[in-house]
C-alpha cells in the first residue's frame, strides 16, 4: 500500500537567509531609497524621475517613495529564455536552474607559453570562446578577456562580440562601452533572429551593467539601462561593492545597499518602459584589509552571493552570482580550493547565472586552463546536487535479497544500468600508484594543460553564415567610422 503524509526530497536543500531576514533586508533597502537616495549622472534619467513622484535634489540626488519602488519591482518577468547564435544551446534563467559561465573584460591573459600575464587580445577571446563552446558544464559565455588590440578602445565592444561569436555558439552576457555600443551589439545579435520583434522572443544575450557603489550611477550605465528598457533587452544591474570600503563591513549592510542600487535601476527602467527583463546581481565581496585587493576568493563573497540569491528568489528575479574564481596568480592549489568552494556554494544557492569561472589574480587575469579545471569541478558539483532517489528500484530491496550475504553486484544487470548515473571524471586521476608512475607521474596541472591544448587544436564551432558575417562587419566598420571623426 502506498503511504500517506510523505515528503520526498529529490535534491539537497540549502538557504542562507530565512524569509524574515529577507524581509528585514528588503525593508531596509526601501528605506535607503526613500531616505538616502542615489545619484544619477544622466539628464534624461533625472527628467524621468522628476516627472513622477521622485524627488531630485542637490543636482542629481534621487529619492523615490516606497510605493513607486514596489510598483516597479513587481513588473519584471520571473523567467528569461536565452538561445545562442544557433539553436543548439538554450538556457532558462529562473529560480533554482543553475547555469555556469565565464566572466568578462579581464585586462590580462595568462600566456601559456611564457607563464607570464600579458594584455588580452582579440585572439585570446576567440580561444576562450572556443573552449567554452566545447566544455559541457559551461552554459553561457562572457568574453573572459577584454580585446585591446583594436584601433579605438571606444568601439572595443563590437570587435569583442565578433570574437565571441566566432568562437562560441552558446548564450552570452555582454559588456558595452555605452548606450551606442549596446545598440550596435543588439543590432548584431538581431541579425541571427531576422528582426527586432523576433529577437525579443528569443534573445541571445544579457547585457551587463553596473552601478558604482555606493549608490552612484554613471552616464554610460544609465544610457544602457534606458536602451535595454526601450528594447526589452535582458539586463543585469550588478553592484560590485567592496565590503568595508564602498559598502558596510557587515554582510547584511552590504546586501541592503546592493539591493537599493538594483531597485533604483528597476524604478528607472519602469519609468522608461515597464517590464524590462531584470536580473539581480552583485559581486558582493570584501576589500582585503592588508593588500586592499577586491577579493575573488573570499568566503564572504560566496556567503553574501548566496544570501543575495535567496533575496532574488523571494523577489521573483533571476540571479547573477559568482564562482569558479580566485585571487591566486596562477592555477595552483589556492586557485583550485577557491574555485571549488565558490562554485559549490553558488550551485547550492540556486543562482541562475554563476559567472567569473576562470578568473585568476583577483579579477584581472584570464586563465584558459582554469576553465578546463572548473568544468571538472562543476561536473562533480552537479552530481552532488542530484540528491538521493528512494523509489523501489533505487532502494534495491529485491536485489539485495537476491544477491544475499557474501554475493557480488559487479556482474548484475542492476549495476550495469545504474553505474552510468555516476560522475565519471575526465581529468582527475584515480589510478593505482604503479600505473600513475608508468604513465609519466602526471599531475592535475599537467592534464589540464594537455586538455586545454587539445581543445584548442581540435574544437571548431559551427561557422557563422557568410551573409551574416558580412552584415556584422558592416556594423563594426560603421562604428569605427563614426568614432574616427
Amino acid at each position: 500500500m502506498p503511504k500517506i503524509n510523505q515528503t520526498i526530497q529529490t535534491t539537497p536543500k540549502f538557504r542562507v537567509l530565512s524569509e524574515n531576514q529577507i524581509e528585514m533586508i528588503y525593508s531596509a533597502a526601501l528605506d535607503v531609497i526613500q531616505r538616502t537616495g542615489a545619484r544619477f549622472h544622466h539628464d534624461e534619467a533625472l527628467e524621468l524621475f522628476k516627472n513622477r513622484e521622485a524627488v531630485v535634489s542637490d543636482g542629481n540626488l534621487v529619492r523615490v517613495p516606497i510605493s513607486l519602488v514596489e510598483k516597479a519591482i513587481k513588473c519584471h518577468p520571473r523567467k528569461i529564455n536565452l538561445t545562442g547564435r544557433t539553436e543548439k544551446y538554450k538556457i532558462k534563467l529562473e529560480k533554482d536552474v543553475v547555469n555556469f559561465g565565464t566572466g568578462s573584460d579581464l585586462p590580462f591573459t595568462y600566456d601559456r607559453e611564457t607563464g607570464e600575464r600579458r594584455r588580452t587580445n582579440y585572439n585570446d577571446v576567440v580561444n576562450a570562446a572556443r573552449i567554452v563552446d566545447f566544455l559541457p558544464n559551461l552554459d553561457f559565455f562572457m568574453s573572459h578577456g577584454i580585446v585591446q588590440d583594436v584601433p579605438n578602445p571606444q568601439v572595443y565592444d563590437r570587435h569583442q562580440f565578433m570574437a565571441m561569436l566566432k568562437g562560441c555558439t552558446k548564450p552570452m552576457v555582454l559588456t558595452s562601452v555605452d548606450g551606442d555600443g549596446l545598440k550596435d551589439l543588439w543590432k548584431m545579435a538581431s541579425l541571427f533572429r531576422g528582426g527586432e520583434k523576433e529577437y525579443r522572443l528569443e534573445p541571445m544575450f544579457v547585457t551587463y551593467i553596473e552601478p558604482i557603489s555606493p549608490l552612484k550611477n554613471d552616464k554610460t550605465a544609465v544610457e544602457k539601462l534606458l536602451f535595454s528598457a526601450e528594447k526589452g533587452i535582458p539586463c543585469m544591474y550588478t553592484p560590485c561593492p567592496s565590503s568595508g570600503a564602498t559598502a558596510p563591513a557587515t554582510m547584511a549592510g552590504m546586501l541592503v545597499q546592493s539591493l537599493s542600487e538594483t531597485m533604483m535601476a528597476s524604478v528607472l527602467t519602469y519609468l522608461k518602459n515597464p517590464g524590462m527583463p531584470l536580473i539581480m546581481g552583485g559581486v558582493t565581496t570584501v576589500l582585503d584589509m592588508i593588500t586592499t585587493s577586491y577579493s575573488y576568493g573570499a568566503p564572504e563573497l560566496s556567503l553574501a552571493s548566496a544570501a543575495n540569491t535567496d533575496i532574488s528568489k523571494w523577489l521573483g528575479l533571476p540571479m547573477f552570482s559568482t564562482g569558479g574564481c580566485t585571487d591566486a596568480k596562477v592555477l595552483d592549489e589556492q586557485a583550485a580550493i577557491e574555485s571549488a568552494t565558490s562554485n559549490f556554494y553558488a550551485y547550492l544557492s540556486g543562482a541562475s547565472l554563476v559567472h567569473d569561472v576562470g578568473y585568476i589574480d583577483s579579477g584581472v587575469n584570464a586563465s584558459l586552463e582554469s576553465l578546463v579545471m572548473n568544468d571538472e569541478i562543476i561536473g562533480m558539483i552537479r552530481q552532488m546536487g542530484k540528491g538521493i532517489n528512494t523509489e523501489d528500484e533505487y532502494l534495491a530491496l529485491e536485489l539485495i535479497d537476491k544477491i544475499g550475504p557474501g554475493g557480488e553486484y559487479l556482474t548484475h544487470e542492476h549495476t550495469l544500468q545504474h553505474y552510468k548515473e555516476w560522475f565519471q571524471p575526465r581529468l582527475q586521476d584515480r589510478s593505482d600508484y604503479e600505473t600513475w608512475v608508468r604513465e609519466g607521474k602526471k599531475t592535475m596541472n599537467d592534464r589540464i594543460k594537455e586538455e586545454t591544448e587539445r581543445i584548442l587544436k581540435e574544437h571548431q564551432p559551427e561557422p557563422i553564415d557568410d551573409n551574416i558575417q558580412k552584415e556584422l562587419q558592416q556594423i563594426i566598420d560603421a562604428a569605427e567610422k563614426r568614432h574616427s571623426k
Binding site: 549622472h41 585586462p107 577584454i146 585591446q148 578602445p153 558604482i212 568595508g244 584589509m289 584581472v364
Partner: protein
C-alpha cells in the same frame, strides 16, 4: 614635555584622533619647537605604524585611523611650521581622470599619503584634462596622482601627461598612475614617473620621488 611626545607617538599608533590633536596643540602652547613635534612625535609614531602594517600587525582600517590622527595633528602644526618644514613631504593632487567615476583606490591612496605627512588635495572624479592642468599650475604640487579603473578611460592618463608637457610644466611635477588595468609598462609608455599597484606602494613611491 618629551613625555607628551611619546604620548603623541603612542596615540597615533592607537588611532586616538582627538588626543593626538590636543597633545599637539598643548606642545605648541608649551613652546616646543614645531620641527621637534613633527620629527620626534608624529613621524616617530607613523614610522611604527608603517612597520606594523608591513609586518601585517596592523590592517588598513587601523592604519587609516592613524592617518586621520596624523591629519588632526598636522592641522594644528602646519600654521606654525616653517615654510620649509611644512612642505617637506609636499603637496599631492589626487584625481580620477575624465569619464571615470571610480574613486575608492584614489581615496585610499590619498589617506595613506596624508598619513605620511603630505598635504593632499583631492580633485574628485571624472575631471577634465584641462582642469587637472589648471590645478597643477595653481597649486604647484610635488606629486600628481592619476587614477583610472577602466581600460577605456586609462588612455586619459597619457592625455594629461601630454597636456602637462604642452603647458610647459611637465618637469615641475612628478606623476604617479594607478588603477586595476594599469601596469608598470603602461606607466612608462605614457611617460609617468611611477606606477602604484596599491595605496601603500603609491605612498612609498611618492616619498621616494619627493626625496629625489
Amino acid at each position: 614635555m618629551s613625555e607628551k611626545l611619546g604620548k603623541i607617538a603612542d596615540g597615533l599608533l592607537h588611532g586616538k584622533i582627538d588626543e593626538v590633536g590636543e597633545l599637539t596643540q598643548e606642545l605648541i602652547n608649551d613652546g616646543m619647537d614645531p620641527e621637534e613635534i613633527l620629527q620626534k612625535g608624529l613621524f616617530a609614531g607613523m614610522d611604527v605604524v608603517g612597520k606594523k602594517f608591513r609586518d601585517c600587525e596592523m590592517f588598513i582600517p587601523e592604519v587609516l585611523r592613524s592617518a586621520k590622527a596624523m591629519h588632526a595633528a598636522m592641522e594644528k602644526l602646519r600654521p606654525v611650521l616653517s615654510e620649509e618644514s611644512s612642505s617637506k613631504a609636499g603637496t599631492v593632487i589626487m584625481v580620477t581622470v575624465q569619464g571615470d567615476l571610480h574613486d575608492i583606490g584614489k581615496n585610499l591612496a590619498g589617506m595613506m599619503m596624508e598619513g605620511s605627512g603630505f598635504n593632499v588635495i583631492d580633485m574628485g572624479i571624472d575631471r577634465k584634462t584641462e582642469d587637472i592642468v589648471e590645478m597643477v599650475k595653481k597649486e604647484k604640487p610635488q606629486i600628481l596622482g592619476l587614477s583610472a579603473l577602466l581600460t577605456t578611460t586609462m588612455p586619459k592618463m597619457g592625455e594629461v601627461i601630454n597636456a602637462l608637457k604642452e603647458a610647459g610644466i611637465r618637469d615641475q611635477v612628478k606623476v604617479i598612475v594607478g588603477g586595476a588595468p594599469v601596469t608598470d609598462d603602461f606607466a612608462q609608455e605614457i611617460g609617468a614617473d611611477a606606477y602604484a599597484p596599491n595605496a601603500s606602494i603609491g605612498t612609498e613611491k611618492a616619498l621616494e620621488l619627493v626625496k629625489g
